[in-house]
Subunit: 145 residues, 2 copies
DNA sequence: CTTTTTGCAAAGCGTTTGCATTGAA
DNA sequence: TTCAATGCAAACGCTTTGCAAAAAG
């Protein structure tokens, strides 16, 4: 299949919103567009700073609420952190994390072998698994010097 | 080997502190004792509230700084969270996490099969892996109603 | 016209910092 | 006697809330 055009991507976004009874506002579209080109794990403030360049009147509040709303409907995910500002993950594909225990930075990595881990039987009795992730904790290159 | 006595546990704690040039204070001992009997993933405030019963004059500050210090020397670990107050993990054995995406609660589970995951070769080139953890994200029993 | 969303300001919560005092070594 | 640790208070950063005005459906 072809790479979808931006229009197609935005159309799909609009459909998803409508499916969840969310109104389409220029702010939400701008935030969504920014997410498409942003860093892997942006904070709400990073998105706010970026969107503000085009919409100088947008408030941090709207950005933050929108991101939380997007997380609710599964457009993105809140990422595990060690503390500090929340980070959002715009990549809903299967991927895994390297957590630096010193600086707190999170790097993604792909590894097919981790994607198909079997979930222990008994867990299904008390937990509904939506996503699997392997987190490798340690020291990143920059911090190991 | 026998279950170690409390005295032995505290003696070991004192040795670890001395090894890191930390002074032994009654507050630190009290905090450490509390950690031994506390919940799996206490917040600094939870530890503070508990220790305060015995040491009414202790400040939140001391508790918080002590926990961060303990994390620095490897006595405990800061746990991945989705946001909110930091949580500390007093169990340094290998174990894995269930993260509820709705309420944010973290449950531990053990699974031998996950403990021995092979780390992809190339990761060693840019990351020093200290610990491996599988995180299953989803909805916990309480939230799925 | 109705209901959601926005922007703003204030409040809230958790963490961090500076500093004088205390206490361990 | 020295230097680290404590307690306190203020500052700080991030998140959340309430509410009136604006905008979407």
């Amino acid at each position: 299949m072809q790479q979808p055009t931006e229009k197609e991507i935005i159309d799909e976004f609009i459909q998803i919103c409508q499916g969840h009874l969310l109104k389409i506002t220029p702010q939400r579209v701008a935030i969504y567009k920014e997410l498409l080109i942003s860093d892997k794990h942006p904070t709400a403030d990073a998105i706010y700073q970026a969107v503000k360049k085009e919409y100088p009147n947008i408030s941090f509040d709207t950005v933050n609420r929108t991101l939380l709303k997007f997380a609710e409907i599964g457009l993105l995910e809140v990422v595990e952190i060690f503390g500090g500002a929340k980070r959002f993950d715009t990549d809903v594909r299967n991927h895994h994390h390297l957590h630096c225990m010193r600086c707190g930075k999170i790097q993604d990595f792909m590894h097919g072998g981790y994607d198909n881990l079997a979930v222990p039987e008994d867990i299904h009795n008390y937990f509904q698994v939506k996503r699997k992730r392997v987190v490798l904790k340690g020291i990143c290159k920059a911090c190991s010097k």
